[in-house]
């Protein structure tokens, strides 16, 4: 039977990755399809009558009459929807996020699909590009829900955007699992329909500060500097809280204006406070400047940590020896000691399988994406169906172990079962140094 595309105008302008995988979606089956074939056959023979108008009317009638036949096919897939940062200044991260989603879909569909109440369902994800713009993203999620009929959402990239989008899904009462929005303020409002698999920003520096307090002798004086921007501000505020918890004194805490080209006034003030450890957060360009100026000013902390930066492309290359021994928290690394209850592989196994398909060892973005989908999968299987309210309740009760880590949500929707690892740049490469069961190398102090 020839492959026939029924009702091409019924598809949206989405970029579905399912196309390459199952062309039979377009193959017309059953009585409806045969009827359409007969009808089209009849049309080709009616040369005398105004052919174009006949075809269009008949085609339209066929679609309307036989749409239920095609609907049957559609029910056998579960559709998710998300907006990604595929263009714009977060495009690199956006690509990794998408690879993670695609890898999950590939893995699951290769195994025949998700088994829910005895029936197998394939997975499909509808992607849109929001270029990391809040207004665009909100618009797109409304489109996913109201136009594309998606009931299960995956979060966008970035905290500010996620906060705005969570308002949309909360009002529509549809569940959304967030893999890439870390601000606590997303979850603190007690919304019922937003869940995050990743550690919140406030938790980012937890293990770094803890590690500092466990040195002998323990580090005591902490200096904090952040860019006047959402992510950095929340992360550094979190570090200040953790310092209290682990007995470090915050001797300096300030924020700098975005795009500053000279941080020497801030660093001189910091130097005067004689810190043992510095933690900083901000845009990569600024963080590179910071590392250089720390050396130029003659600041000599025992530990220097960043919220983000050392593992991003360009950081080590730009700084050379100035990047040595900087610290960064990461959500996941291939060395975490977890085995996936659903797919059976360890973190390392995941990394190797991913590498086979995409040609590079993944950082934490891809597996984080996959973890969000695993939460949904687990919920569907527990519920045995797809009612959004029941699925939401099942998600709230999640308690699973994946290669990403354990996932269990508190009543605000945050994953409280997992923690961040700490990496350090040694010889130009990031290695995990904490916690002990994940570490690949020993922590080295700078001075």
């Amino acid at each position: 039977m020839r492959r026939i595309r029924a009702c091409p105008w019924a598809e949206g302008d989405a970029t579905t990755i399912a196309d390459a995988q199952w062309p039979e979606y377009y193959r017309v089956r059953g009585p409806g399809g045969k009827g359409a074939i007969l009808g089209l056959g009849a049309i080709t023979m009616s040369n005398r009558i105004g052919r174009r108008s006949v075809i269009s009317v008949a085609g339209l009638a066929a679609c309307i009459a036989f749409w239920p036949a095609l609907e049957v096919r559609a029910q056998e897939t579960i559709k998710f929807g998300t907006a990604l940062s595929l263009t714009g200044n977060l495009a690199t991260e956006g690509k990794q996020v998408r690879e993670g989603y695609d890898f999950y879909v590939k893995t699951v569909n290769e195994r025949g699909g998700i088994d829910v109440a005895g029936k197998k369902y394939k997975v499909e994800i509808v992607y849109y590009d929001d270029e990391s713009n809040v207004n665009t993203s909100v618009k797109l999620y409304e489109k996913l829900i109201s136009e594309d009929g998606i009931k299960f959402l995956l979060g966008p990239y970035g905290s500010g955007i996620t906060i705005a989008v969570s308002n949309v899904v909360e009002q529509h009462k549809l569940p959304m699992v967030v893999a890439h929005g870390a601000a606590s303020s997303i979850y603190n409002r007690g919304y019922k329909y937003t869940f995050g698999v990743l550690n919140s920003i406030e938790h980012y520096t937890y293990n770094m500060v803890k590690m500092a307090s466990e040195q002998s002798p323990p580090l005591k004086r902490l200096a904090l500097l952040n860019e006047n921007q959402l992510f950095s501000q929340l992360g550094i505020d979190g570090a200040a809280e953790q310092a209290k918890q682990f007995g470090l004194e915050v001797v300096y805490k300030e924020k700098y204006s975005s795009g500053t080209k000279d941080l020497s006034p801030e660093l001189e003030k910091m130097k005067a406070s004689r810190p043992d450890m510095i933690i900083a957060g901000g845009y990569t360009n600024d963080m590179i400047l910071l590392a250089r100026q720390i050396r130029q000013i003659g600041l000599a902390p025992k530990l220097l940590g960043y919220l983000l930066g050392p593992t991003l492309p360009g950081f080590v290359q730009a700084l050379g020896p100035d990047a040595e021994l900087t610290l960064e928290p990461v959500q996941w690394s291939p060395t975490v000691p977890y085995e996936d209850a659903m797919f059976g592989w360890t973190a390392k196994g995941y990394a190797e399988a991913f590498n086979k398909v995409y040609g590079h060892i993944p950082d934490y973005h891809p597996i984080q994406s996959g973890a969000a989908l695993q939460v949904f999968q687990n919920a569907f299987q527990k519920v045995g169906g797809f009612d959004p309210q029941k699925v939401r309740d099942a998600i709230a009760a999640t308690d699973i172990v994946t290669a990403y880590g354990p996932i269990r949500f508190n009543d605000k929707g945050q994953n409280i079962a997992k923690s961040m690892s700490v990496v350090q740049i040694q010889d130009g490469k990031p290695v995990v140094v904490y916690p002990a069961d994940t570490a690949e190398a020993k922590l080295k102090l700078r001075h």
């Binding site: 270029e131 809040v134 207004n135 909100v138 618009k139 829900i145 500010g160 308002n167 860019e227 501000q233």
Partner: protein
């Protein structure tokens, strides 16, 4: 209030206002019908079109009528957003909360107006940019009041999604209507005549008795009010604001492009421009993923080069018949 001079220069004043009012009534009917036929997604787009049309009307009041390019007008959008946001978070109802945003904005315009409106052209534009940066920086730093860089999250609007979307849409329709009324007033009243005199030749206007500083400040205050109300409703609509979002220069530029495209000094120009720009944006985004910034940039450049007097001006240049139908519109 008719002019006291023996020769009324604008005998057909009220006729034009009536025509515009009639068109406004038709537009209003169409707008009221839309919620029944559009999905929530398209309604959201329509709401966005209306919001931008209002902001563009604010720009129109400044750049189109008194001829002062208020490039940084988005500062009032931000003040409106934060004022309303803080009030709503404190539990105040929306209508009163809007006043918390609109009044500070108008006050700023009235205070800064006499100082900054003495500058012209590029200098005024840059001064408004500077003003925007200063206020934005304050919003980032006064975290106790505004939440600082972490932003402000408003409590969720109660009700089901469809109801909330309809309510928001209707609020924007009301605001849009207000902006149209403002446009008609600016175009057809004596105050508006003074504005256009300032735009044409400020020294001559001063010489003929127009108290330019007062007129300019009043125009800016009204523009600020309108823009702040749009900002306040936006804050309630999206539910989350941060300084880089509501003091964003891109909003000003978009409003400027809409204003240019629609036609300076016209009443319905901002709506036309907004429709065109939003359609172009949505099309460009959905079909030209990697290039859409480029496409928007090139489009902006083309608009400035090819249709600088806007769509209405463009049509006027090409179709003289239309010109006479528009009741002898004076070309300044």
């Amino acid at each position: 209030m008719r002019s006291l001079s023996p020769v009324d220069p604008r005998p057909d004043l009220w006729t034009r206002s009536l025509w515009s009012a009639a068109i406004a009534a038709v537009v209003l009917v169409v707008l009221m019908v839309l919620p029944a036929v559009l999905s929530l997604y398209w309604l959201r787009l329509a709401t966005n079109v209306l919001m931008l049309a209002v902001v563009a009307q604010g720009i129109n009041a400044m750049a189109g009528f008194i001829g002062y390019p208020a490039f940084g007008n988005v500062v009032f959008f931000g003040i409106g957003a934060y004022g309303t946001g803080i009030a709503v978070t404190a539990g105040i109802g929306l209508v009163s909360a809007l006043a918390f945003g609109a009044i500070p904005a108008a006050t700023l315009a009235l205070l800064a107006g006499p100082l900054l409106l003495r500058l012209r052209g590029h200098y005024f534009a840059i001064a408004t940019l500077g003003l925007n940066e200063v206020v934005s920086s304050l919003a980032s730093n006064l975290s106790g009041l505004t939440g600082g860089a972490a932003g402000l999250s408003l409590p969720l609007s109660s009700g089901i999604a469809t109801d909330v979307a309809h309510r928001t849409y209707l609020a924007f329709v009301a605001l849009f209507l207000a902006s149209i009324v403002l446009g008609i007033v600016l175009r057809d009243s004596r105050f508006g005549y003074g504005c256009r005199a300032i735009r044409a030749n400020e020294e001559a206007a001063e010489a003929t008795g127009v108290s330019t500083l007062r007129v300019k400040a009043a125009a800016w205050a009204v523009s600020a009010l309108l823009t702040a109300l749009a900002g306040g409703l936006y804050a309630r609509w999206v539910g989350f604001i941060e300084p880089s979002l509501v003091f964003d220069m891109a909003i000003s530029v978009k409003a400027f492009v809409i204003f240019l495209l629609g036609g300076a000094g016209t009443v319905f120009g901002p709506l036309i421009g907004s429709l065109l720009v939003e359609s172009a944006t949505t099309l460009a985004w959905s079909h030209l993923l990697k290039l859409h910034l480029m496409v928007l940039g090139v489009t902006i450049m083309l608009i400035v080069l090819v249709v600088p007097d806007g769509v209405q001006g463009f049509m006027l240049r090409l179709w003289p018949a239309l010109k006479t139908r528009l009741l002898g519109r004076p070309r300044c």
